[in-house]
């Protein structure tokens, strides 16, 4: 506790260096907190938005391929197109949508958007399967369905996919803006802290140097005079209440003793 108020050089050094270390530690902790915040924002993008968009993209591509196979079957009657739809396209769509619906919380707008896509696709797939069955007995009727009401159902789920993608893109844009804001504020906070620490360090160094150098210089002059036996009018008294002041006081006592010896010897000789 005494070192908090003491004027000694040691206490002042402890306070100054300790203060700088505290500032350094504080800015380091602050930097770590800001880095963690940036990392969290980045994780949200990497763990949620990115896979969500990838799943929607997979589902959209597979759904589009299923629509192409539907057309291929209607144009050629080749059952390989129907097999493609059942064995490849539809499973990919459902698998991607199932995964997308597990990324965000159940009640989130993203999960609801996926459910809407899935519902729309299921409606279209059911109608499409009926249309493909009708093709064997009524080719024209099947084609009319494909170009009419079933086309509308396909456009409806494609629109739902667009809505879900737009929602995810808005989240990505928001996360990106948040990331930029956090990184900018992190830079300014750290620069501010470092500038403050630098300024404090300079002020501390200048004040300490200012209080020491002049008095050390005076004691050095006194010591140089003593070393050549010049004690006439020498005064080692310096201001302050620290170790240097005590050293000057002690030197002044020794000087006074020498001056007294010199004075008494001179008086005797006279």
């Amino acid at each position: 506790m005494a070192s908090l108020t003491s004027r000694s050089i040691r206490a002042r050094l402890y306070r100054g260096v300790g203060g700088l270390l505290v500032l350094l530690a504080t800015s380091s902790v602050l930097g770590l907190v800001l880095l963690h915040r940036l990392s969290s924002g980045e994780s949200t993008l990497a763990d949620k938005a990115q896979p969500y968009l990838a799943d929607l993209s997979s589902a959209a591509v597979a759904a589009k391929a299923a629509a192409n196979d539907e057309r291929g079957y209607l144009m050629t009657g080749d059952p390989k197109f129907v097999d493609e739809i059942r064995e490849k396209r539809d499973p990919i769509v459902y698998s991607a949508l199932d995964h997308a619906s597990s990324i965000y919380a159940a009640g989130s707008s993203e999960t609801k958007a996926v459910a809407a896509v899935r519902s729309g696709f299921e409606t279209w797939a059911t109608a499409r399967d009926a249309e493909l069955q009708q093709y064997a007995s009524d080719r024209k009727g099947a084609i009319d369905l494909a170009l009419g009401s079933n086309r509308d159902l396909r456009k409806a789920y494609e629109s739902k996919i667009d809505d879900a993608v737009a929602l995810a893109n808005a989240g990505v844009t928001s996360s990106d803006a948040s990331f930029t804001r956090t990184s900018t504020s992190a830079i300014w906070v750290l620069v501010g802290f470092l500038a403050f620490a630098l300024l404090t360090g300079i002020v501390f160094a200048v004040r300490l140097a200012g209080s020491l150098t002049a008095r050390v210089a005076k004691l050095t002059v006194v010591a140089e005079k003593l070393s050549i036996g010049d004690i006439d009018g020498v005064d080692a008294t310096i201001g302050g209440d620290d170790e240097l002041a005590k050293l000057g006081e002690s030197m002044q006592g020794v000087i006074a003793a020498f001056q007294e010896l010199y004075s008494s010897s001179s008086a005797k000789a006279a």
Binding site: T237, E249, Q252, G253, V254, A256, A257, Q259, E260, L261, S263, S264, S265
Partner: protein, 61 residues
């Protein structure tokens, strides 16, 4: 000025000679020529009195 302070050096001389005078200067941080120049302030007189007490004890008088 300083006549009283300077008189302490005479007292120290009679107690222990030059050694006591040097001791007095060492303790008070002031030699006799300087003591003649400065004012006889109560603070300085107290310092010299305390130094003389120490010197008398050391030199046994």
């Amino acid at each position: 000025m300083g006549a009283k302070l300077a008189s302490y050096f005479d007292q120290a001389g009679s107690v222990g000679g030059i050694q006591a005078k040097m001791k007095l200067a060492l303790l008070t941080k002031m030699a006799s020529p300087k003591a003649l120049e400065v004012a006889d302030t109560p603070d300085q007189i107290a310092v010299f009195e305390a130094a003389m007490t120490s010197i008398r004890q050391e030199f046994g008088r």
